[in-house]
Symmetry: C2
């Protein structure tokens, strides 16, 4: 046997077993206790736990503990068609809810103004909210919309979490396509806090521009997805 492994690799395996052997929803031992039991320092333990958090297998709650979560279903979607997460979830019969909605009227930043084709200083509506899948934070969505397109009254009439669905219901507005840039990123301090994950955790990120048939951008959005809860795919034709 030449199974030399680094401490972190062995630890990864040990943790995987331990998580597998814990019932969904149960709490793991505390970090100092777990570190002692597995014979590693707390720093090393926490580093190893990151990947499991990314996969949605554990969920840490500051002050409360680390819990085993095990997403029972992934949200799967093709990227050819733009659909709201709510519509998508409903279609596949998955439980999704909205948490921590923040609505804000403010002046567009130069970047936002540029993206939306507005003059600097125009007012925009900022909408940010966390999407909970089976009660766990799974995505964080931010939409920036020109203020003249979406009034407060539109939101009061029942906002369920999807700006897209709201815009689709406005009969006066036609939508055509969305251009979506896809990348991977580390969770910033802010996003990490809102999704209650660790700063630096890996997230799939979409930056999207929603167009009218005339070519006007009516929604500029950032979406952050915890990889374990989603599976996005695209069919590519051979060039």
């Amino acid at each position: 046997m030449k199974t030399e492994q680094s401490i972190s690799q062995r630890l990864h395996g040990n943790l995987k077993e331990m998580i597998a052997g814990t019932k969904t929803g149960d709490r793991l031992p505390s970090e100092p206790e777990l570190a002692r039991r597995l014979g590693v320092s707390r720093a090393t333990l926490r580093e190893a736990m990151r990947t499991f958090e990314t996969q949605g297998l554990i969920h840490r709650r500051h002050g409360a503990g680390t819990f085993v979560t095990r997403p029972s279903q992934v949200i799967e979607s093709g990227l050819e068609v733009l659909e709201s997460i709510e519509t998508l979830a409903k279609r596949i019969g998955m439980q999704v809810s909205m948490g921590a909605l923040h609505v804000d009227h403010r002046l567009a930043t130069p970047e936002e103004a540029n993206a939306l084709g507005l003059a600097t200083g125009c007012k925009v509506l900022h909408l940010s909210r966390v999407i909970l899948a089976e009660g766990q934070p799974a995505a964080y969505l931010v939409d920036v919309v020109p203020e003249d397109l979406l009034a407060q009254s539109d939101l009061d009439e029942g906002f369920t979490g999807s700006v897209l669905d709201l815009l689709l219901h406005k009969k006066s507005l036609a939508l055509s396509v969305s251009r979506c840039d896809i990348t991977a990123t580390n969770a910033s301090v802010e996003v990490a806090r809102l999704m209650s994950i660790q700063r630096g955790d890996v997230l799939l990120q979409f930056v999207a521009y929603l167009y009218t048939p005339e070519g006007r951008v009516v929604d500029y959005s950032f979406s952050y997805f915890l990889p374990g809860y989603f599976r996005f795919h695209v069919v590519r034709r051979v060039g």
Copy 2:
């Protein structure tokens, strides 16, 4: 002023300035020196450096130092059409080369056999290689192909890094589409070493199945992209 910031946030800013003020290709001070100068511990410094490595702004070389790299051009591509990175790079006039090619004949794992629609125990060809953009590792690609489709002679006749281009040149083989799953992941120990990035660094990951018109899978591939070097996008029509 109520600009309270955590140490890590302040550090992030300091580092950003320092990198911006360093010429491309130059070496940064050593980690102990940098940590002392910025008034933080080495662990905190290294954590803060991760994001810059992800963005392709710095490049660490074990035993040699940390260098400022600054990718002069990103590789941008739509996902509707499948193109090899080499073809893509050539089209936009970017310098791309191949490093660390590994070719291996082996028995298909159960997972690979399943993906390729083979019986367990069939032989497959494993091809893995690193893609260098401007001399820096930017992507790591792994292709698994049934052995009857790609002989050693095909490779000897000049393999430039793209399995897709190789398959396209086989007149006996027709290709139709590729199904591509997109996710974000942490660099494993192996991938991190090959791309000379840190274990745990964030990568964009594609898992793809290449089909013939008859529906046979002829290539099962994993691709890992360092976010700073690539920009992938897709146009989504409104449902």
